[in-house]
Symmetry: T
Subunit: 69 residues, 12 copies
């Protein structure tokens, strides 16, 4: 188990609702092409503003996945 290698991919998820939901959207997208997602790190949190309000959150994450070997 100590010889596992992981790859990290960087995604930006977005959501009108919350920071957590933006992250979950990024994870859901990653899960459509990658198996074995293991952890994520939040890299940057931004939001798009419209009419003086937060229109949607944009959260950059790095997601780690075990490389099947």
């Amino acid at each position: 188990m100590s010889n596992h290698t992981y790859k990290k991919i960087e995604l930006v998820g977005s959501s009108t609702k919350s920071i957590e939901a933006a992250v979950q959207n990024a994870v859901a997208q990653a899960a459509t092409t990658e198996e074995n997602l293991r952890w994520l790190e939040v890299v940057e949190t931004r939001a798009h503003l419209e009419n003086g309000k937060i229109a949607h959150w944009q959260v950059t994450v790095k997601i780690g996945a075990t490389i099947a070997s």
Copy 2:
């Protein structure tokens, strides 16, 4: 459109409720004096503690606004 210039202002919003609400309070305040708010970047997240609990969140953001020209 490619020649727009934006200014960035730095605010700290606070809220007893959530990180998102603290950010929204900062945006609402910015909107009282600035038009054309476009985006924000979360710079720092802190909280004030009282009686061993989170009393309120304090979130520093940089807000970008188009300069009317």
Copy 3:
């Protein structure tokens, strides 16, 4: 009052629910051994993933407490 000294301790709180709840769990734990908690700074936000979903949030915080003198 200007001569107070504070110590800062670093904890990682976790929660299945939200970033805020993970932080609150870290604060609650700190409150069991430390009095006079004053503020916290979010240092890093990560999540553990299982079955292509966020299993729990893991948020690292630094908590500042007044040293009783």
Copy 4:
């Protein structure tokens, strides 16, 4: 002269042409409202892409200006 105070403002200039032109556009905008601009620091360089090409550069700068006293 050693007691001068400077303020720093943060702007994002853009240009279809070059990084330097994007910075110059930010400086030109600052010069319409501020006298005594003294120096700038490039903080971040980004570009907006369209049709697989760079549509315009977006360069964030901090501009220092002497405060008239």
Copy 5:
């Protein structure tokens, strides 16, 4: 639109001519395999030197692309 997810890829472009041309070469390469390129961030600027002169610029960029869904 607020639910878009973006991926970020990291490339190093090079050019004998300028920093901008090195970036454009990286974008042109990305466009051969990725649709929907949206923005880029310059991460690092280096140059290879030969005979006491700049032989070519090497610029690292992160490029964001919409994930088609």
Copy 6:
């Protein structure tokens, strides 16, 4: 009180005497136009040199002020 919003402004103070005096000069300048200054963070410490000696200190600070509402 938890709903206060603060703005942060960035100034460079200078002094021939000390780092502290350079900061105090920046604060004194800020106080001529802003009420309700609350805290500052030292961002960068530099000095101008003349004749092999420190001619004056130049200290960049971010100053936080409550926005009256």
Copy 7:
């Protein structure tokens, strides 16, 4: 040669033996799918602990590879 473009991928290699071996495992894994590996940069060094000892090293690297064109 000055117009080469490189891609950078981020991997985490692990090993019970040493930091170098963890990096080599990441490189060996990358070599199974990528040709033309050129350089790597160590980004982060961590270790998993068990029974008060280092169970295995986990080293994050960015690996640069020439894009065949």
Copy 8:
């Protein structure tokens, strides 16, 4: 001597007088509970403002101490 292990603790000292005095207050506090203090690193310098003046300095330090073995 090469096998010494040190621990690092993080404190915030404060003083109405100077940055140095704020640091010394943190060291004095550390000395009441720790023997064998060896070095410190200044991590952050802030100040609390009142009535448009510096009320007291708040300096965060990491202090290294030999662990008695």
Copy 9:
């Protein structure tokens, strides 16, 4: 399991032999007072030099441990 809280402590281990051995010495010291050590992050690598050679390595680590609850 998702509600675990971890504390992080910062130590500097040293060794005449290698970076890994310096880290292991820090872990061994931590294990004398803390149970449930879980992971570590290398923060800084330095060495003390004598007679133009490396006398010993000094490696700063943050060690995470589950708080028994």
Copy 10:
């Protein structure tokens, strides 16, 4: 070839024309005293402003050179 040692020197080049020209001026200066210049890294980009315009660019670079042995 794998046992080469390089030294890195830090210079600030300036130019009225462009960022690239400022870097080239730094390299040209380095070449008057150092042989075997190999690469450079751009560390910081600033500009001096006069009359509301960019008077000259000031670019800090680290230059790597093989040490003849």
Copy 11:
């Protein structure tokens, strides 16, 4: 004047008295071998501790000097 090139050297000055005095000692040392010192940037502030007190300050600075041409 816009074509000046500067070199930056990194020194650590020390003093039992103050941070400013430690910096001045570094500048005085630099002045014995370099002409045309122009500015400095404080990079890091540390102190050596003895008997639970600050024995001397150790301040790392980068000093910029015009290269005579």
Copy 12:
């Protein structure tokens, strides 16, 4: 002793064998021209890859040396 001034030089050592050996090669080179080497800080760890393997390690260090006075 508290008034010593140190200079810091930046070198990149390389080795086919290990990170430690690359650092030792840099130190050995520094010792041929500098007396009184006192400490080093590892700044960056890279490796050159050939044929899908690590050809040699390249480690950047800052080396501190007492200035003889």
